[in-house]
């Protein structure tokens, strides 16, 4: 005890002072913390909110809302997120705060209806730091050491894509554009891209390139494909002149499939005027552009005369599938004379100048050059897109893009540009100029416009590392292939119906008419008549069905198949016995609803929708009624408005339309009963 007293007496005064100072310091810090917490960003914000609330709401609503206060957070264990954004964004799910000053404004649009806030939170769509409770730390703007600050609206659709995996995700046009560009450019031929699995992309097979192209055309193409075709899908591989020389030798030595033998075509008698007429009649421009106008499914033909040999073009038009089994091009049924005229017309009309006489066949290539060319062909991954005889597809030679949206920017080679280091910017610059970031890149330059590169980068940025819970993901539909057998199957293959039309979602999208229920939509006689001579149902549509020069029995086979297989029972069960009163009432409705604005009847009306003059000959009544009642169901995005017709009104209109035959004259109801 004595010792303790002694110590108390002898303790140096400096220690007392230090102890007191420490105590004061703690007190200061403690009160500062209390004060800081008291005036925290979110508290002052909430106080502001209550003042605004009083102007927006009536006293009764205010009393109900008075309990709102303190930190508000949404916990989403499935997504591993805690979002406290609602602490300040207090009016976010309350429509009465539309247009209120930030951060109180309600969420624009109907996004919160489709994405309830208690299930989706905020940061899964917007990014940023959900746990922060002040403006700066929430990373509303890019912050140092924050990997995912809030996305600006311009790139926010990248986050839509994390869940919405369909190529055409709803209400995300930028994302859709980017994904469509990836599909068109076939990026997945060289890269493994999650979400695009199962899609294929083919360049032409090169088995017989030596007999296909004019030798003088090839070097220019290899040097810069865009120089010949502005919309070329092939990228620029930045080959040196030496590489081009040997690659050319290798490619020209490919003559596995010679042009059709025994061709006794008298080219001197070629009638290019007839060729021109055929070019129009066959509707080539539905798929091929000339002089910048026309479809994009096939290559542009503006300078075809510079490129291909005459014999090859003739035999390709005669049977495209012999040399290019994977082509989308159909096989017309033309005579040799017609083929000759068409070939001569194409080569003469679409060329950049006088191309001179048909070049002699290439016979000799230096074996060493051929071997060297083959090496380049393999090394640059040409086989990823082009089939060449027995050469093995080297598969995806580019790196996998799985999780690319979450790549750590510090690991990416940005070069020396003054660019903010983000995965987005890296992908963008890489797509735009593959060689600008890393000199040794093998990736060809596609000459994308900056906005195209940005769209592609946005679509790729949606590919995240961690996979989301299944309940959040909307996968891309993968329709099963439609491969009918028998004569009908042969015709579908020959005329390449599925290049433009789809069945069960499988096939092309050029045509707006899927064939799923075509047999319940169209009448048998009309199908076969239309196939033999496809006229224009919609006046203003540019891409039209080709004139196949089909045989009558082929048309009948197709019509038979369609009307017995491609059916929709709910449409066929429709009772099509109409009374005269129905027809009369339908006619009145036709006027009342303003159908004439878009449809032609006789010589009167607009030309947005199909001509209705002989609609009773074309369409089956069950289809007319179903279509009128709910057009969006059958064709999303259609220009046919949904008038919300009652069943009786739809029936009356159907009765009237079914009575329209033979140029718009209504036939009497008794005849119009059954087809």
């Amino acid at each position: 005890m004595g010792v303790a007293v002694e110590m108390k007496q002898t303790a140096p005064t400096s220690l007392h002072v230090a102890f007191a100072a420490l105590g004061l310091a703690f007190l200061a810090i403690f009160s500062w913390v209390l004060f800081h917490e008291g005036v925290a960003d979110w508290r002052t914000t909430q106080a502001r909110f209550r003042r605004i609330e009083a102007t927006v709401k009536n006293p009764h609503q205010l009393a109900a809302a008075a309990s709102v206060g303190g930190l508000r957070q949404i916990w989403l264990p499935e997504l591993d997120r805690v979002d406290r954004c609602g602490t300040c964004h207090l009016g976010i799910d309350d429509p009465s705060f539309a247009g209120a000053p930030q951060p109180f404004s309600s969420h624009p649009g109907t996004w919160l209806t489709t994405h309830p806030i208690d299930r989706f939170g905020c940061t899964p769509c917007h990014d940023g730091q959900g746990q922060a409770t002040d403006y700066l730390n929430a990373a509303h703007q890019p912050q140092p050491f924050v990997t995912r600050p809030m996305r600006p609206l311009e790139t926010i659709e990248a986050n839509c894509g994390a869940c919405h995996r369909a190529i055409d995700a709803p209400d995300a046009p930028r994302l859709d554009e980017g994904r469509a560009l990836i599909v068109q450019s076939g990026c997945f031929s060289c890269h493994d891209i999650p979400g695009f699995d199962g899609l294929t992309f083919h360049g032409p097979a090169l088995d017989s390139l030596g007999s296909k192209v004019r030798p003088e055309w090839l070097p220019g193409w290899l040097k810069n494909p865009k120089g010949y075709l502005e919309r070329s899908k092939m990228g620029n591989f930045r080959l040196s002149n030496d590489e081009i020389t040997v690659l050319q030798a290798f490619l020209l030595s490919q003559r596995a499939i010679p042009p059709l033998e025994g061709m006794t075509v008298d080219w001197k008698k070629a009638d290019t005027a007839n060729g021109r007429a055929l070019f129009g009649e066959l509707r080539c421009v539905s798929c091929h552009a000339v002089n910048g106008r026309g479809g994009t499914m096939g290559p542009e033909l503006t300078r075809i005369g510079d490129k291909v040999r005459r014999d090859w073009l003739f035999s390709f038009l005669k049977d495209p599938h012999r040399v290019q089994p994977e082509t989308a091009m159909l096989q017309y049924r033309l005579t040799d004379v017609q083929l000759r005229d068409l070939t001569a017309f194409l080569l003469e009309e679409y060329r950049s100048g006088d191309t001179g006489p048909e070049p002699p066949p290439v016979t000799y290539q230096d074996a060493r050059a051929v071997m060297a060319g083959r090496g380049i062909f393999e090394r640059r991954g040409c086989t990823s897109c082009h089939r060449l005889g027995a050469m093995k597809n080297t598969g995806r030679i580019g790196p996998s893009l799985a999780g690319i949206g979450d790549r750590n920017p510090d690991e990416l080679a940005f070069g020396r540009g003054n660019v903010r280091r983000t995965a987005d910017n890296y992908i963008f610059l890489k797509v735009l100029h593959p060689d600008a970031l890393l000199q040794t890149s093998m990736m060809p330059t596609f000459d994308f416009a900056p906005i195209e590169a940005a769209r592609i980068a946005l679509a790729l940025a949606s590919i995240r590392k961690a996979d989301l819970p299944v309940s959040y993901v909307r996968n891309r539909p993968m329709p099963p292939p439609f491969t009918p057998a028998g004569h009908f199957g042969e015709l579908v293959t020959r005329y390449r119906c599925l290049s433009c039309h789809s069945v069960g979602g499988f096939g092309g999208t050029l045509s707006t008419v899927p064939l799923d229920r075509i047999g319940s939509q169209l009448k048998h006689d009309y199908i076969s008549k239309y196939l033999l001579n496809p006229g224009a149902v919609r006046v203003s549509v540019e891409a039209r069905m080709p004139f196949f020069h089909m045989l009558p029995d082929e048309a009948t086979t197709i019509a038979d198949y369609m009307t017995s297989v491609l059916l929709d029972d709910t449409l066929d069960r429709y009772d099509a016995t109409f009374s005269e009163a129905d027809v009369q009432r339908g006619q009145d409705l036709y006027t009342q609803l303003g159908c004439v604005g878009c449809h032609q009847l006789g010589t009167v009306g607009g030309y947005v929708g199909p001509v209705l003059s002989d609609v009773g000959d074309r369409l089956r009544p069950g289809w007319i009624a179903a279509w009128l009642a709910n057009p969006e169901r059958y064709k999303p995005g259609t220009l046919q408005p949904d008038y919300g017709l009652s069943a009786a009104d739809a029936r009356a209109l159907t009765a009237y339309l079914s009575s329209l035959v033979d140029g718009g004259r209504p036939k009497s109801a008794e005849q119009g009963g059954r087809q």
């Binding site: 109907t110 311009e154 046009p173 906005i451 946005l458 009342q592 303003g594 009306g605 995005g637 949904d642």
Partner: protein, 145 residues
């Protein structure tokens, strides 16, 4: 005391260094650019449309422009087939009345006591899409005010 002196000496050396380091914090002359965002903005800010109005412009092109014309001047390719002809939306007084405009878009022109030639889109388009269309129409009339 030698230890105290040493501590002081270290303090004298380190403090100015710390202060100097704080003062010399590197300020880069130009902040790093956002290449991708710039590319998108360069494309989308043409015409100064907001995001919603830009979406509306696409919808307008798809659903409306055949009659109303790309710029809303009532000069679409189908306009000559219509009687009465579609109005010039950029100068129309009614088009500036948001409630009126919404009624015509969702319920058709007949609901506003006009001809039936402009059909109702309320069942085909989502509420979101109609908001976008409204935003574009507003931008269209504002630019002509």
């Amino acid at each position: 005391m030698s230890r105290r002196q040493a501590t002081r000496a270290v303090g004298v050396v380190i403090l100015p260094l710390l202060v100097a380091a704080g003062g010399c914090r590197r300020t880069s002359p130009t902040p790093p650019g956002d290449a991708m965002l710039d590319a998108i903005r360069a494309e989308e800010r043409v015409g100064g449309l907001s995001y919603g109005a830009g979406q509306g412009k696409h919808l307008f092109a798809q659903y409306c422009a055949t009659c109303h014309g790309d710029e809303g001047r009532g000069d679409g390719q189908n306009a000559s087939n219509l009687n009465p002809a579609p109005p010039d939306l950029t100068t129309s007084k009614n088009a500036r009345d948001a409630a009126y405009l919404r009624r015509v878009i969702t319920q058709g022109s007949a609901a506003a006591g006009r001809s039936a030639l402009s059909p109702p889109w309320g069942r085909s388009l989502s509420a979101q899409q109609i908001d976008y269309l409204m935003a574009y129409c507003a931008a269209m009339t504002q630019s002509k005010r």
